[in-house]
């Protein structure tokens, strides 16, 4: 029988179901989501600023922020009451499965550039929750995972230091000395580069340094390997990173706690931790 004839005979639902389509709820505007509504500020210009972030509108964000600065609004207020609130809403929508990664990245870009405008007026960097240092394992040239982590961390209010790809352990040690991060993240694509992680831990120990945790993840990295040396926690998804950082910052968790409480910390079932 011809391909076309065969195709027409199939009831697709007996072979596969597109659950993403099946389950889709009605479309709503992001700002109408109940939880988002609670996060968004009511006063202007903060509401408009937050909305430009929510709408991923970089150009308009910068325009409104500049105008607000011209109007003498405190740059710190713009950041904390406007930009960050917008970003919180974006993160929330991502977690709820309403927003997608590109939304988050574009909102993040808009926020970061708007923050820069504020800092120009402020004359120095604005405060972040804390500092996190991110690197790609030595020998590994793949960095999209690290780049996503950076964006998630920044969207979560962290100062995220980008050490780039193929980073030797000694450079990580220097970065820890310089930035005193509350959290390190390392990514690797291959089994034969993930071996860089225990070397980093060793180098830190040799330098008498300690961090609450080093999140290790990416490509072929396995939990059982990551848990075979200390100071480390296996990271499953890039968007888990700020949640892990929050747990360290707010609840004083360390790598031992995070290994045990990973699913709770990131808020949901994680197959790799089961």
């Amino acid at each position: 029988m011809s391909y076309k004839d065969l195709e027409d005979k199939i009831d697709q639902r007996n072979v596969y179901l597109r659950y993403n389509v099946e389950l889709e709820g009605p479309a709503i505007k992001p700002e109408e989501d109940e939880e988002v509504a609670k996060i968004l500020p009511n006063d202007e210009p903060f509401r408009s600023i937050a909305l430009t972030i929510l709408n991923e509108n970089r150009d308009e964000a910068i325009t409104i922020v500049k105008k607000a600065l011209d109007d003498g609004i405190s740059p710190l207020d713009i950041i904390n009451e406007g930009l960050m609130k917008g970003m919180d809403a974006v993160s929330l929508l991502y977690t709820k499965g309403i927003y997608f990664l590109p939304d988050l990245m574009l909102s993040g870009d808009a926020m970061m550039e708007s923050v820069k405008e504020c800092e120009a007026v402020l004359g120095h960097k604005s405060d972040s929750k804390a500092t996190v240092v991110s690197f790609v394992a030595e020998g590994d040239p793949h960095d999209i995972g690290k780049n996503l982590i950076l964006m998630f961390l920044r969207a979560g209010g962290y100062e995220a230091i980008d050490m780039g790809r193929d980073v030797p352990a000694s450079d990580v040690v220097e970065a820890v000395k310089k930035y005193h991060p509350i959290f390190l993240t390392g990514t690797a694509l291959m089994t034969t580069t993930m071996t860089a992680f225990p070397k980093v831990v060793k180098a830190l120990e040799d330098a008498d340094l300690e961090v609450p945790a080093i999140g290790c993840g990416g490509g072929a990295v396995r939990k059982d390997f990551v848990e075979s040396f200390p100071m480390s926690v296996y990271g499953v998804e890039a968007y888990h990173t700020p949640k892990l950082a929050d747990a360290i910052l707010n609840d004083k968790k360390d790598w031992k706690d995070l290994r045990k409480e990973y699913s709770d910390v990131v808020g949901g079932f994680v197959s790799e931790y089961s």
Partner: protein, 461 residues
Amino acid sequence: MKRFTQMEYKDPDELLFGHAKYPISIGNDTEIGAGHVIPEINVAPGEGTEESKEKMVSECRNITRSASDRAVNIGLPAFILEQEHISQQTNNPDWTAECTQAQVEVLEKYHDEYGIKTGLRATPADIRDEEKDSGFWSSDLFNRVIESIEASAENGAAIVSIETTGGKSVSDYGISRGDPKAILFGIGVLGSMDMEYMWEKIVPICKKHNTIPGGDTDCSQSNTAMFLAGGLLDKDCSHTLTALARAMGAARSLVAVECGAQGPLKDCGYENPIVKAISGVPISTEGKNAVCAHSDLMGNLMASVTDMWSNESVYHREEMGGTTPEVWLQATGYEAALMNTAIETGEGKTLRDLYTLTDKYRDPQALILAYDNAYRIGEAIVKNGDDPYLRARAAAIEAGAIINEAVDSKKMYLTRFERDSLDSALKVLKKLPTESDKFTKDCIRKYSRKVPDFDPKNYEL
């Protein structure tokens, strides 16, 4: 109990994956053998999880979640999770109860949320021990097995199965020594008796709790032979003798159905095509997507007439592609999808034949399970249907004839070892008495002496 003396299928060509003469319905809108193939996933609890009930419950729940999650992520319309119990679960029926409950709860949740068709097959372990517990049929261990079956049924398992081990000490002896008589006694007589004893107890329990009594397998015997037989270059067990053992295994696994098991028969029963041909119940099988667990020589052929397609077992751990419940459900799920496409387009029989012909002459073990030959062995069984011994013997002799015919037609090629062991086995089998009693007495005398663990009292003999 009514023995099968006729074939439920009237023509081997009616045999097709996804279609059983007597399909079953297990709730959650899920039917088995009713026109589509369903993937089955089975993951072995990780080492250490046997240490406490809490750990085991959590392990079982997590396996279920991971599998369910992948199922919806790749769009599977249906899947079955099998949990083969470890001894601690069966030994402690409260473990069984709580594990079953936890797994059913997760499956229900996914069914409610996504509409995915699911169900749990719970398989308590046969923890009885011929050596330790002289009351093989009435000991504490026996009671624990029965309680565990009840706990599974009571707590929502859709299907309950078991892999009974009756006769294993004698068949092990025969398999390692190439002794066809011991194999026949172990599988055809002792195995069948034990299966009957067990399933007469299991079926009413399942009925009471509205659970499907799924069936049994000759795993502990024919699969031992198959594993020892190994690959083409292995030297441990003749592949022709193994083929005869498999044919006997069909005569044995049929007993569960005669006692009321409705299928899907257990995945590891490579004899299931024969049992399906005879009885019309749906079957689970495994092959090329069970390479995680073992290597067989009929990876495609075993899909030909399957109703549930399984991975057998896999360590619970992480692969690059996800955790093993995810990865291996995807493997079996995608193969089931191919079969379902073939069914939908009316090309099911073509795919069935391709599956079969890919392996038919790869090995004598495969040859006798090709659906046409499986049917022939089924016919040999039902012709002697009333007598478990005679029908197992007839199955083996028919399997031998099938191999010899294929050799004669220059389609099957044997090594000397395979050739010799087949000839000598057939000679032995054909000379055996035609009365079950005589054979049994003879074997009791011989193997009570040779097989230390074999105690006829265990079988009330």
